[in-house]
């Protein structure tokens, strides 16, 4: 049962990953990529790492891929023109692909020979989430904090790079608006007839 599910998921991942590259329309590419992410989450559920699976869906599918789609939809690029020169990069792309395949092969052979083929998604804890938390906030506490710090710096950097204050547009100051009273804005003037203000 598990094996059947695995092969179904694996087949979907492979096909959708190919389709990401093969699709002519970039929006279709992103949609295939989303299917690929989602199926990967299914694989994680299959090995019992349901917490990781949900995080993958929330972060990658729910947020990152939405922004991908957002950007790709807004871009107005002539993709026929863009794709014309693609073929000349074939040797380089092939080399990268070969390197990937070789790495995966080495890793899986090493794993086979080490004999540790029983996978435990939640070692020493009741659930996957507890196991991750127990490791992340004790053994790898410093690395975890560092990663958070790097992300914070990256976020601030992105804001600094893109934020520009334009003095020529009107902005709303909500505090000033709500603090405004009738006396600040109006005044009563008694006008004598025939004189005006």
């Amino acid at each position: 049962m598990e094996l059947i599910a695995f092969y179904i998921f694996a087949a979907i991942i492979t096909v959708s990953a190919m389709a990401v590259i093969a699709a002519r329309n970039p929006v279709h590419s992103v949609l295939w990529l989303i299917l690929c992410f989602f199926t990967a989450a299914g694989l994680l559920v299959l090995i019992g790492a349901e917490f990781l699976a949900m995080l993958l869906v929330v972060v990658y599918v729910g947020a990152v891929a939405v922004l991908f789609l957002f950007v790709v939809m807004m871009l107005d690029v002539d993709f026929v023109e863009l794709k014309q020169g693609t073929l000349q990069y074939w040797p380089f792309a092939g080399l990268v692909g070969l390197a990937f395949i070789a790495e995966i092969a080495i890793a899986s052979f090493a794993r086979e020979s080490s004999g540790r083929d029983v996978f435990n998604p939640a070692p020493g804890a009741a659930t996957n989430a507890e196991a991750i938390g127990a490791v992340m906030y004790t053994d790898y506490f410093l690395l975890f904090q560092l990663a958070g710090l790097i992300l914070l710096v990256a976020m601030i950097g992105a804001i600094v790079l893109t934020l520009r204050h334009r003095p020529d547009i009107k902005r709303q100051n909500i505090a000033r608006q709500t603090a405004r009273r009738r006396a600040d804005a109006t005044s009563r003037v008694s006008v004598e007839p025939g004189k005006g203000l």
């Binding site: 329309n25 929006v27 279709h28 949609l31 989303i34 349901e50 917490f51 949900m54 995080l55 869906v57 929330v58 599918v61 729910g62 947020a63 939405v66 922004l67 789609l69 957002f70 939809m73 807004m74 659930t127 996957n128 989430a129 709303q172 909500i174």
Partner: protein, 358 residues
Amino acid sequence: MSGLIEQNGLLGGWLMVIGQMLLFTIVLLLSLAFLLLMDRKVWAAVMMRKGPNVVGPFGLLQSFADFGKFLLKEIIIPAGANKTVFLLAPILTLTLAFAAWAAIPVAPGWVISDLNVGILYLFAVSSLGVYGIIMGGWASNSKYPFLGSLRSAAQMVSYEVSIGLIIITVILLAGSMNLSDIVNNQKGGFWTWHALSFNHILLFPVMLAMFVMFFVSALAETNRPPFDLPEAESELVAGYQVEYSSTPYLLFMIGEYLNIVLMCAMMTILFLGGWHGPVPLGADFVNQFPVWMVNLGHLAWFMAKIVFFFFLFALTKAVVPRYRYDQLMRLGWKIFLPTALGAVVLVGGYVVYSGVQV
């Protein structure tokens, strides 16, 4: 689900699982028909109109008449549309809206899949709902749908952040991500409900604020007024739905309303004690009755709370004017996000130093 298969054998177990799903779906769709009518009736009552009152007594069958009408109309696909994605979008919306309900516990033990990470599952599936809208808006190949889908993408991603942080405060209080555990953490009566949490009196203002913020974020997340900018009819005609007609439109609408009811159910589970009544009746009294009867009582409470929240949604739609887009973003990022972050720190500190949870 796996428990059922172990108890009843492979074939019987699978039949039981499929039966459960069918029952759940049918009950959900039937109640949705009447909730839709309620939405329109409340709206009409606020405007001192009668609302739908022609089909059946008090217009009770109006939704079914609408259903038939939608099914019988012609499906129009715009010439420039991307046909596959155009038709995929409403199907995706509806499927995801249904999929989320698999993890909702309606009474003790009455749940299709009692996931350990139930609340994360709900969060994940509801965050996928934005795809239906983006795909629909893009595939229509038309200005208004595209603008509507861009708006809704930004809006839903923004408010997911605050919803996620609010959910974290509840997870901290309950000490579990399992929805049944979260409900059972509030079983002592209305003073232990997370929205009030009188048993942790220091947290009372924090959790009440979180409850209100969750309600407002749920309005934004489901594109309901006053945050219905993706389909603001005065600016974008009907937003991402402009080019949809007939059954695809019906699927979009059912999906949208299912998401609204799902948000009501989430608020019930997270903040209002789920299936528990406001006053505990005591084990002696409850044990006199057979289990199924007790569970039906629990189910009644659960549904009553959902209907209450749906009433609030309908009322909000009727009485609150629409936000401007920059105001919406300001509310989400500058007010809700910092407040929810502060609340996570407060609740976390309280949980650690008062010894509520291990």
